[in-house]
Amino acid sequence: MAAEPSPVMCIEEENLFVQLTHDRLDIPSIMARVKSPKAGAVVLFAGTTRDSFADKPVVHLAYSAYAPLALRTMQSIARDVKGKHSLTAIAMVHRLGVCPVGEESILIAVSSPHRLAAWRAGEQALEECKERVEVWKLEEFGGSEGAVWRANRDGQAGARVEDTMGDVGGQR
């Protein structure tokens, strides 16, 4: 990763926040973005890098994104979910670059007056993010297996990658 200053990669509007970042994700700060005296329920989803895929050990994951488009898609999902479930607020952040095993790659926080809407909204927001947001995942298995670009939507094992690790991080 080049040591250039990180560009601003977020969109903020009233009670809605979406972000892409190369930094570690911070749970208290994303929770704070949705808390409100009006909201009796906050649901937080934290997606964490697992140590295996199909029984193969994963050393780390790396994410790249088409950042301007991914942010726009996240904003569209957040608006839609917020409206549909009458949320008080919603915040979603996705990590880019290398994400070591055990660290979070995505956080979604939603708040609403009552818990049922919050549970459902959190679930829908996550599903739509995974389905639509223009972020790609590279799994580093270590050893001869190397790195694999994962196109999981197809349920396929993905393609071996050679010499593309320098590209991870996507458009900056």
Binding site: P7, M9, F45, G47, T48, T49, R50, F53, A54, L61, Y63, S64, A65, Y66, A67, P68, L69, R72, S105, I106, L126, E127, C129, K130, E131, R132, V133, E134, V135, W136, K137, L138, W149, R150, A151, N152, R153, D154, G155, Q156, A159, V161, E162, D163, T164, D167, G170, Q171, R172
Partner: protein, 112 residues
């Protein structure tokens, strides 16, 4: 956001994930104007085999809007024409299907 700026008379084509793996680049510049219907031919000429391996399973955006390539091909002369300065991107399937069918079985979620 430092999206590469195309030289005069060119547009930018961005590559991600499997498209980056195939081309070993993050972007190329192509001469404009170019009918969208001719884009895949131009890319295939530069990177033989990319159409079957990458393009056919990918989506395409022009200036951050998705376009239906097949539909543009069918429009013939009336189809979209890529202009100088446009930002075009090949969008491979995104990484993060949560649960999906694979040989009739539901795979475990991948990152969560």
């Amino acid at each position: 956001m430092s999206t590469p700026k195309a030289p005069t008379g060119h547009f930018t084509l961005l590559y991600f994930a499997s498209a980056t793996s195939f081309t070993r680049k993050q972007h190329d510049f192509f001469a404009a104007p170019l009918p969208l219907a001719k884009l895949y031919e131009a890319v295939e000429e530069k990177y033989p085999g990319i159409k079957a391996k990458v393009l056919e399973s990918s989506a395409l955006t022009v200036n951050l809007d998705y376009v239906d390539v097949e539909e543009e091909v069918q429009k013939g002369d009336k189809g979209l024409v890529i202009q100088a300065g446009d930002e075009v991107a090949i969008i491979p399937p995104v990484s993060s299907g949560y649960e999906h069918l694979y040989h009739g079985q539901t795979l475990q979620p991948d990152t969560c």
